[in-house]
Assembly symmetry: D2
Homo-oligomer: 422 residues x 4
């Protein structure tokens, strides 16, 4: 495919320098369907990025699209603040019936605003209120959002510096594998907690991702997560699982923590919860934590009803039985096998891979390599992004609805891009 220079001058002259993804993908995108996205010059790309995990069911999923169009056409409520609406009730009921009850999860549902960082801010507020303490423990290479509360528990130094104030009240602990197995799990963390002279402010809560997507596809073992949940219980800290990127089936089960068998006190969901890329987020918590006063946290777009409609359709369509989970794991095995081949072929480049379900990372000794692979993949008609503090990991994040053939196509393109950047 030949890429003719796209017309980007409007963006360059009118939009802020803060824009980033568009720099790696110099195209003007126009339409998309499933795992294919088309630019205005007629080029088509296979999408292995899926809106950073916001498009688990593919672009403009036809089932969701039908529900959305019907709703809009009949003048359903679009913007509802936190008014009661039929669309919200349908979502709440479906979420309860399809997701929570079958998993035996007893959570109250909060609509904290339309985006992930709103959900994290609400989770942190609630934890602090419940425990009467300010401190939060987060993990190395965590990513939780860009507003000041979420940013304070995010690891990336570059993004932290953007705050313009010292970010405090958070302390990082080592994520699983961070010290390469040279230190027993939670040795340091527990010692700090049990020692009245340690200097650690007693935390209200711990916030964790089960797989760190932005942080470099770092996968926590189930036993590590169980150890953490146990530590939280023993040391009177709330456990918050930020499932914004890894939830909604990305790792196989609906919630990424199901595999570990833990039950967090608070869970955040966003990205793919609407299923259609529409802004929506949820903060879930155990009923005894529902200490909010009416209106203590609010927000203009917390009642994005079109998103409730597509969310309801997505849950009904994909989660009423266990098919989606099985399919995701199957596609995951397909990817794993291919990555194993690539790693074997490029073992002199130190190629390593890791992941679960439909989230995978590929890393090389040369930290610049990942960016080169993604750039080459783009030229070859595929959207792939990097992650990690130094953008050193190639991140694979295809739609859960991708077909086996599309997976194969993507993996072949990836293999070629790796080969051609050696």
């Amino acid at each position: 495919m030949t890429i003719t220079p796209p017309e980007l001058s409007v963006f360059e002259s009118l939009e802020s320098e803060v824009r980033s993804y568009c720099r790696g993908w110099p195209a003007v995108f126009d339409r998309a369907q499933g795992s294919r996205i088309h630019d205005e010059d007629g080029h088509t790309y296979l999408d292995f990025f899926s809106g950073a995990g916001a498009l688990n069911y593919g672009h403009n999923n036809p089932v969701l699209k039908r529900a959305l169009l019907d709703y809009l056409e009949r003048d359903g409520i679009t913007h509802g603040l936190d008014m009661s609406t039929t669309a919200k009730r349908a979502f709440l009921t479906t979420f309860q019936d399809v997701i929570l009850r079958p998993r035996d999860l007893d959570y109250k549902v909060m609509f904290p605003g339309p985006t992930g960082t709103n959900a994290v801010e609400a989770a942190l507020k609630l934890a602090r209120k419940a425990k009467g303490r300010e401190a939060i423990v987060s993990f190395t290479n965590a990513f939780h959002g860009m507003s000041l509360g979420s940013l304070a528990v995010t690891g990336n130094a570059f993004k932290r510096a953007g705050a313009g104030i010292p970010l405090v009240h958070g302390t990082p602990m080592p994520f699983d594998h961070y010290l390469d197995g040279r230190v027993p799990d939670f040795l340091w963390f527990e010692r700090l907690l049990e020692d009245q002279g340690s200097g650690l402010n007693q935390p209200a809560a711990v916030i964790v991702e089960t797989i760190q997507g932005e942080g470099g596809i770092n996968v926590a073992r189930a036993e590590w997560l169980r150890g953490l949940a146990d530590l939280c219980k023993r040391r009177d800290m709330l456990l918050i699982v930020d499932d914004i990127q890894m939830g909604c089936g990305r790792t196989g089960p609906f919630f990424s923590f199901e595999e570990a068998g833990i039950v967090p006190d608070i869970v955040t969901l966003s990205k793919s919860i609407s299923g259609y890329g529409l802004p929506m987020s949820l903060t879930l918590f155990k009923p005894e934590l529902d200490l909010w006063e009416p209106g203590e946290h609010n927000g203009t777009f917390r009642g994005n009803n079109p998103a409730f409609v597509t969310a309801t359709a997505a849950l009904d369509t994909y989660w009423a039985d266990g098919q989606m989970e099985k399919q995701t794991l199957a596609r995951g095995e397909q990817i794993e096998a291919a990555l194993r081949d690539i790693a074997r072929e490029h073992q002199r480049s130190g190629a390593e891979f890791r992941g679960r379900g439909l989230v995978w990372g590929l890393e090389f000794t040369d930290k610049q390599r990942a960016a080169k692979v993604c750039a080459r993949a783009f030229e070859l008609g595929m959207l792939l992004e990097t992650s990690g503090p130094e953008s050193e990991v190639v991140k694979l994040l295809p739609a859960l609805t991708i077909s086996p053939d599309e997976v194969d196509e993507g993996l072949r393109t990836l293999a070629r891009a790796v080969r051609e950047t050696a």
Copy 2:
């Protein structure tokens, strides 16, 4: 109209106690069109609330709806992060041509995330980065959002307490009229700034609303705003106008600060910018402030393309000429005349009113009265909300597209509700 008890049990059992608007309006809303909103039991309400200012063009505005449906039907990009898309380009171009250029405003446009608090967080970050200082001055009764950065410059003690940490780096100054004209404008503020011993940390920026919507419909005079802009210039502070609720034509002109003839360094827009109640926000700033590094601030839903589509349609439809502004001011006069009558009739209750364009407040000596008026209005088939730190102000916020007859109807209902709560 008789209200039969609506079916609210799902909300009560599944949703968090944090919900608030739904408590004052015990109905389950289903459909809406223009200034009318319908519940599932067949009742219709005249909307003088407009999604807290997020629905300036009414519910499901047909022009915008057509554009949105067309876009969704043709599988336009829904979720785009900050990728370049045809929908974003159309919006940027239209915003430049219809809004910025005719007003001689030279602003770079940033998409900081889908909701107002994202826009404020980005504005504060940028101001701090540009000036290398942490402190921000805000005003009494300001409302800027619920995430920690925005909440620190918000006045409401109840919402501030929700933070669970001490909110610092912000200092409140008296908004216009706050001290009832007993103190010269900015006497205190300027004295603090000029005195090297005052103890005020030198501010990076001042953030202000031209009319405080949540704070009680407090209207700043044009000369006060000019005085503030002048003070900022003389004392090397950036001026941020938070135009999230008052922008997009609410006060008449597109930007609420146009009347004062000031040019803020940074402007935030959200609520009605998409025109259809879809989550979208903008942070605008002078080109010399575009100091962002690529990706220094990001967010999953900053590229909500369906919102770009309706935003573009709204600008094209309503702002290509000066009709909307004229119409808003005309409707405003209609409201002002009616409020004058109400105030005269209820002067023994201390009734007072204030406002501009299509944002008005009505206050009584008895601070409980406003809530009673709104409750009675609801029974009479009208959505009206209170504002102010003690919910002591009846807030009128009809759609800009409301008809003169609907305005009359609403004002008659309001007058009746006032009378019946005496």
Copy 3:
């Protein structure tokens, strides 16, 4: 008197650049007695500075000296942490009998460490603990100390910048006269407190000096202090009077707040409490505020027993009757009369004066003038210092034990220095 260049090279090469007083007084001091201080080159200076108020009874006061020598000679406990000692008991008993009981003040006594900032840190800690709130209100041009807690409530921007971190949890309010009488007392402060939307974090306490010594000899009126005490009571804030510089008789009565008839909740004393220039400080508080746990605040030198000995001797000698207060007020009138003459003579230079007891300030339109006056006074054999945020005020702080003749001599020298710097 001709000043030959003193030998200062040791200080210049070995001591930090942070040193300051020594720069204005280029001499190496060796001995002192009463109000006279002698340098090693044989020059004698009349001291109108008194160790910034730490030497209210003059240098090496003979009565205190005798008590100190006796104590040291008999090997009395020198360093006692917070052990019970006979010297501490004598001090406590005398302080109770001579100072507290006659004034009907019921205060518990805390020895928070040897210096003023220790006393302020302890006061702020206790206030925060008692009220469960972080915020403290201080005043423009306040000075409370250099450690981080005290510095956060100190006004001087230059000293604040030395913190190296943003100083938060404090908010400045206008000191008496700050807005030149154009604003009713406490209008702004009370409005912030009563308004639930003001954005002021509810303060645990207010900390105030009755006369701001470092801030420019700003004298609060008695009615202003009473208004403040009343506001604190009505609004549930503790009132802390920092009497470190103005206590111990500087303004006439032992406590500077006696004249106003107020009873602070917490009082800090230091500087002249030992009477001999030895490091010692006290934090006093109402018994119901004695919420400390044993050892919750500690410090190595909080039991400086030689200081207890001289402190006891000073109280016994000077405060057993009302003579000291009368004498101070008489000397104060002597100074006031002379300053009136100087101000009249130099009214074209905008000379103004203010003060009470034995603390006075003299200010000119030209802000550089004060430093010139002090420099010229030094050449003429007199120690005088400036104060104020721009060192714009000549500060007169003679020993309370100064003789009328010495006062006259000093005032004549001052008058000459003013004249010769015109």
Copy 4:
């Protein structure tokens, strides 16, 4: 020895509940000489506490006493702020000649105020100013003082809680031996520093005690200190050694860090620097760090001239040759041998000991045991204190000038107290 109930009622009724040491030693002390302290009821105690390390040369050391009496008798300057005085010059010269030059240490000397926490506050301010960063790394079980800056880097949770505000800008790292050798030195710390995604705010400085006195007599190995110094150099952090308790010869050499062969960027000294228990402290730093502006940090009692006099005498008398260091190490061996015997005798109680020079700790499995041992020792006529976060360690801190016979006596009493509390 029989203890008759001492007269403590004055302290109980007049002094704050914050007092602590006096509770463990219910006596009223009156006189002291060398290692003996006498109460008013005629009892004598052998002092193995030495003012928490502030009396390294014993109580009322006769050489220092003579110098002090002479100075006071001749009316030498007592209180000097930061004026140049002959007493200060003598100290500076002697400190340079006797301490710094022979050790090849090139430090500027700052007098930051009279107590240890002043020295730490100044050190932290300077480090933050020099590096332009807020964050400081401290260690588990560190103790640096009670004012807010120092308290934020102190480990003890009980004392931290006294702050009344969240203590931020500090992060604890594991002190040597903290994780029982299960983790390579600095593995975690260095990983945090090298990883741009770790979430650790880049520190301006690291503050460390070579032996943690209050923290439980935790002894850092020389190689650990060298590793830390090396890490600081490689990662652009300043190294601050807080030598307030361990300096002035406590561990043998004048500075406790000499054994490790490191040269800190900043050093704090206090406690025994005056040698006579008089309040005095120093902050030392490399000349290139002398970035202070004149007066940027100040304090009323930073020129405690009587303390300069005794400090000078102490340096001249004890540090002009290497005798003091040798003697301290010899007495240390005497203690170590005795502790070995005690540990062997009580190995079933888990008795363990550690220390260096003349600072030793003795710990038992039963954490209450230490307090019992100290209480019994008091009954037997000996002052001994506990340390550690749970007061679980018996701390031996005799004067450096103690005689071998007194050491023996103390050790016999200790052995008996241990035996009698079994």
